[in-house]
Each structure stands twice: as structure tokens, then as C-alpha cells.
């Protein structure tokens, strides 16, 4: 097969091989008129005739791939997917929003519980007349780190103390899941 190309010239319809092949490609699709320059070029150029034959053969080889219906009916899956997206209770977007709301609620409950616990412990210290060790008579507000804007978080170095106190208060009962009264 000779695929050498030649520039445009009077002997080949005034078309370069690149232009002739581009036009021939569209002509095979019925999208380009069978013009005299193209006909003359193909008549004179063996390489371009071979290229056109190759493109024609390629279309024939692609033809068996044309009819490719799915092996099963996909409609039930499509209908279910549309229904899921329409139903806020089961749609994916809803489930991505819900955790955010739940996380915010959990954070609020966590903050309230921590503050409540700290207040209760401080009150107990006061009632006990400052009993216990100095570490146990911790000035609890100092355990809070001011995050600014009225927000507080527990300082990391007090977290261990708090956990140790809790363990002692509960007498180890929390390990089996029971609650202290």
C-alpha cells in the first residue's frame, strides 16, 4: 500500500493528499460533494485511493458494533434511582446532610454535658469544704481554654485529670456500662 502524499498540483486535481483524504472521508459519509478536483486527485493518486479503500473497509468493520442493546432491561434500576433522588427520606443528598445536623446536635449535647459535669464537680468540691488533694480541688474554669467569642474547650492537660476523677467517682462501674446516680 502506497501512502506517500503529494502536494497540490494540476496533475492531481489541485488538491494536496491531506486535503483529498479529508474530503474523501466526508464524501464517504455523504457529507461532501463528489467534486471534480477530488475525482481527479483520486484518479491520479494511488496512495489516496488506498487510503479511501482503508476508510471504507474500516466502516464495514465497525458495522457489527452498531447494534448493542443491553443484556437486560435497565428500566427498573432507572426508575428506582429516580425515586430515590425524589424521596428526601432515602435520597443520597439527604443522607449527606443529615450527618451534619446530627454532628452539630451531638457537639451541642457534648458541650452541655461537659459544662454540666464541670459545674457539678466544682459544687461537690465546695460542699466538701475543699477536701481532697490540691489536684482534686482544681479551679475548674482554669481547665477551660478560651477559644474566643464566648467559646470554650477543655484544655488538653486537664483532660487526663478529669478522666482520672471520673474513674474514681464511678468506682470503675462505668466499665460495664452502668450509670452513676
Amino acid at each position: 500500500m502506497n501512502h506517500e502524499s503529494s502536494p497540490a498540483g494540476p496533475a492531481n486535481g489541485g488538491l494536496s493528499c491531506a486535503d483529498a483524504r479529508l474530503q474523501a472521508s466526508a464524501w464517504l459519509d455523504g457529507e461532501w460533494p463528489s467534486s471534480d478536483p477530488l475525482r481527479e486527485h483520486l484518479a491520479a493518486c494511488e496512495g489516496c485511493r488506498a487510503a479511501v479503500d482503508g476508510m471504507r473497509a474500516l466502516s464495514a468493520r465497525l458495522a457489527p458494533l452498531r447494534f448493542d442493546a443491553p443484556a437486560r432491561d435497565l428500566w427498573p434500576g432507572i426508575a428506582a434511582a429516580v425515586s430515590r433522588r425524589r424521596d428526601p427520606a432515602s435520597r443520597g443528598e439527604g443522607s449527606s446532610r443529615r450527618p451534619l445536623v446530627l454532628r452539630a446536635a451531638a457537639a451541642l449535647v457534648g458541650c452541655a454535658a461537659t459544662l454540666g459535669l464541670l459545674t457539678a464537680l466544682e459544687g461537690r468540691d465546695r460542699r466538701a469544704g475543699g477536701g481532697g488533694t490540691q489536684a482534686e480541688r482544681t479551679h475548674w474554669p482554669a481547665a477551660l481554654h478560651d477559644d474566643g467569642g464566648g467559646a470554650y474547650s477543655l484544655r488538653a492537660d486537664f483532660e487526663g485529670q478529669l478522666l482520672a476523677l471520673l474513674a474514681r467517682e464511678n468506682g470503675g462501674r462505668q466499665e460495664d456500662g452502668s450509670k452513676e446516680r
Binding site: R21, L22, A26, A51, L58, L65, D68, A69, L74
Partner: protein, 188 residues
């Protein structure tokens, strides 16, 4: 009912969110959209893609302004979906071809299966934009104006992109049959 009237009726119902209209749309065009997704993404991804495309169809129907046939718009939704998926996943792998079940069949059938596998592999080796034009033209049978509408490119670009895709496929074929020496005489 004329095809255009049928289109208009389906589009109006789709825009109203009618699930029955979507089913009609799937029954009419599903096989072709599946063929498109199959050739763009490969067999393993085709069914998922068809499902995602038809979900997009009912969700985006309100935005369809009727400037083209329903089938053209469906192809546009499907091609864009496939191109985005290819881009996202950089799915440029060779299409998985099942081990030939026709090994003991006649020699002619074996050749046909082999040829189909080769041409599928060659298609999967094209750049996504070239694959899209060759699939839309050769497999979906769209004309240049329809392809231009689907891909939102000028008709002249369709013409040149198709020519380059064909040239590339023929180059691959020559490389396969003639080996590296074919490189010395590539068509220009």
C-alpha cells in the same frame, strides 16, 4: 403521531417530571444510548452510565429548550456524561474483552470475533474526543450536523476530527499487522 410531535409530547411530559415519559424515552432510545456508553466507556461501565444518563435526562429536561431533536439532546447528555466520566476517572484502559467463547466454532466465526475484538481495542485506544465522533458517526449513525450539535463544535471540526480518528484507527491497524516498520510509511 409524527416524530416531531412525539418528541414534543415526550419533552413536555419529561419537563413535568412524568416517570412514564422517561420510561417511554428509555424504551425508544435506551438501546442506542447503551451502545454509545458501551463504546465510550466499555462494557463494565455501560449499564451504570445508562442509568445515570436517564436520571440526568428527567432532572435536566426543564433546561431543554427544544432547539434540536430529542434524540440529539439525549446523545448530548450521554456523550457529555461519558466524557466527564472518562476525564474524572482517566479511564483510558483497554476495554476488557471476554475470553473468546467461540474457540471451537468455525474458522470464519472465529475470525469475525477476533476482528470485533481488535476493532474494539483500537476504538478504546483513541482519545475520548476522537472516540466520541467515530462512535456518533459510525455506530450511532448521526450526520455531521447532529454530531456538531451533540458535541457543540463546528461541522468543520467534526469533519477533521473524524478524519483524524479514522487515520489513527488505520495507523493502529497497520501497526498491528505490519509492526514498527509501518511507522516509516504512515499516511499524512
Amino acid at each position: 403521531m409524527e416524530p416531531q410531535e412525539q418528541d414534543d409530547d415526550l419533552i413536555a411530559r419529561l419537563q413535568a417530571g412524568d416517570l412514564g415519559a422517561l420510561e417511554s424515552c428509555y424504551r425508544l432510545h435506551g438501546a442506542r444510548i447503551h451502545g454509545l456508553c458501551r463504546r465510550m466507556l466499555g462494557r463494565d461501565h455501560a449499564e451504570d452510565a445508562v442509568q445515570e444518563v436517564f436520571v440526568k435526562v428527567i432532572e435536566r429536561a426543564a433546561g431543554f429548550r427544544g432547539g434540536s431533536r430529542l434524540s440529539t439532546w439525549l446523545h448530548q447528555v450521554a456523550v457529555n456524561h461519558c466524557l466527564k466520566r472518562l476525564e474524572r476517572e482517566r479511564l483510558r484502559r483497554t476495554l476488557e474483552i471476554p475470553a473468546s467463547a467461540a474457540c471451537r466454532d468455525g474458522e470464519e466465526r472465529l475470525r469475525a470475533v477476533d476482528d470485533r475484538e481488535q476493532i474494539e481495542r483500537a476504538l478504546s485506544g483513541l482519545a475520548p474526543e476522537q472516540r466520541a465522533v467515530i462512535v456518533l458517526r459510525e455506530l450511532q449513525g448521526l450526520d455531521y450536523a447532529e454530531i456538531a450539535a451533540v458535541l457543540e463544535i463546528p461541522v468543520g471540526t467534526v469533519m477533521s476530527r473524524l478524519f483524524r480518528a479514522r487515520t489513527r484507527l488505520l495507523e493502529q491497524e497497520r501497526m498491528r499487522t505490519e509492526g514498527p516498520r509501518a511507522l516509516g510509511a504512515l499516511p499524512t
